[in-house]
């Protein structure tokens, strides 16, 4: 019996352009592999950019996949502010 850690939740501090807008961005991230729930809150708005907090939840969130998804949408991850990891019991 092995216990592999899996990411259940991650909160990211992200800088994004105004487009795509927050609802569109959330839907696109939700379509990424391993993501089941996405929450976004706006922290600050600038002339060209918006600072946002993205909360991503799933049964097995792959941070690299999420990073790729977010960066493909033109946004950039400033920091990982919160992570929730659980041990998934798997038989080997």
């Amino acid at each position: 019996m092995d216990q592999d850690p899996v990411v259940k939740k991650v909160v990211l501090d992200v800088l994004k352009p105004h487009q795509p807008q927050i609802p569109e961005l959330a839907s696109r991230i939700a379509a990424c592999q391993g993501v089941e729930r996405v929450g976004i809150s706006l922290a600050e708005i600038d002339q060209n950019t918006e600072s946002i907090k993205i909360s991503i939840e799933g049964s097995d969130v792959k941070i690299d996949v999420v990073r790729k998804c977010i960066e493909d949408l033109g946004a950039t991850i400033h920091s990982i502010d919160e992570v929730e990891v659980v041990k998934k019991t798997s038989q080997k």
Partner: protein, 197 residues
């Protein structure tokens, strides 16, 4: 196919282009219609009206306007959009080369160029189309000239309705406004060619 259309729609939304394309469409369709009016009325008033010549000149003018529209819009849009992308990259402190913004930029440029090329070409081709019927002897030259002028006025009126809808003004008045421009242009051409002749 549907996925492809959705993707293009997403890119156009990101590029924020709807208003620009509307402007391009109205301005260039207007250009195309008035150019056709100039060709038809100029030839008619100077007595050199022949269906073959009008069709040839009309197709030539449409192609030239299409090419001019495509290359002009392509170059101008490319310059403006690249500048905006670089500004955005500076704000984000990253390259957007491998992002949806870069793909949206290419789509937006091509779309603008296509609208800028097709709208004048199609409106002028439609305007001179009665002369194709005259070329095959289906209608007389004078009937073709009249039908052509009416087509131009109809295109201008429809463009006026469209701009009225965009500005949420009275559509009919907006259509009439465009029509007045067309009628004034026609009067000016007839007066000028009459004076010259």
């Amino acid at each position: 196919m549907r996925e492809h259309i959705e993707r293009i729609r997403f890119y156009l939304k990101i590029a924020g282009v709807t208003a620009i394309y509307r402007r391009y469409f109205v301005m260039n369709a207007f250009d195309g219609a008035l150019t056709a009016l100039g060709v038809v009325l100029g030839a008619w008033a100077s007595g050199a009206i022949q269906p073959r010549v009008i069709v040839g000149a009309g197709v030539g003018v449409s192609l030239a306007m299409g090419m001019s529209g495509f290359s002009g819009a392509y170059l101008a849009e490319r310059a403006e959009r690249l500048r905006r992308l670089r500004e955005l990259e500076r704000s984000l402190l990253r390259s957007l080369e491998r992002s949806v913004h870069s793909r949206a930029l290419r789509t937006a440029i091509l779309w603008a160029a296509a609208v800028d090329a097709l709208s004048p070409a199609l409106s002028s081709l439609t305007s001179i189309s009665p002369f194709v019927a005259a070329q095959y002897g289906l209608i007389s030259v004078n009937e073709a000239a009249a039908a052509s002028v009416i087509t131009v006025f109809a295109i201008l009126f429809i463009l006026g309705l469209f701009t009225g809808k965009v500005s949420r003004e009275h559509m009919f008045i907006s259509g009439l406004r465009m029509l007045i421009v067309g009628v004034s242009t026609a009067a000016l051409i007839l007066l000028w060619t009459g004076y010259m002749g």
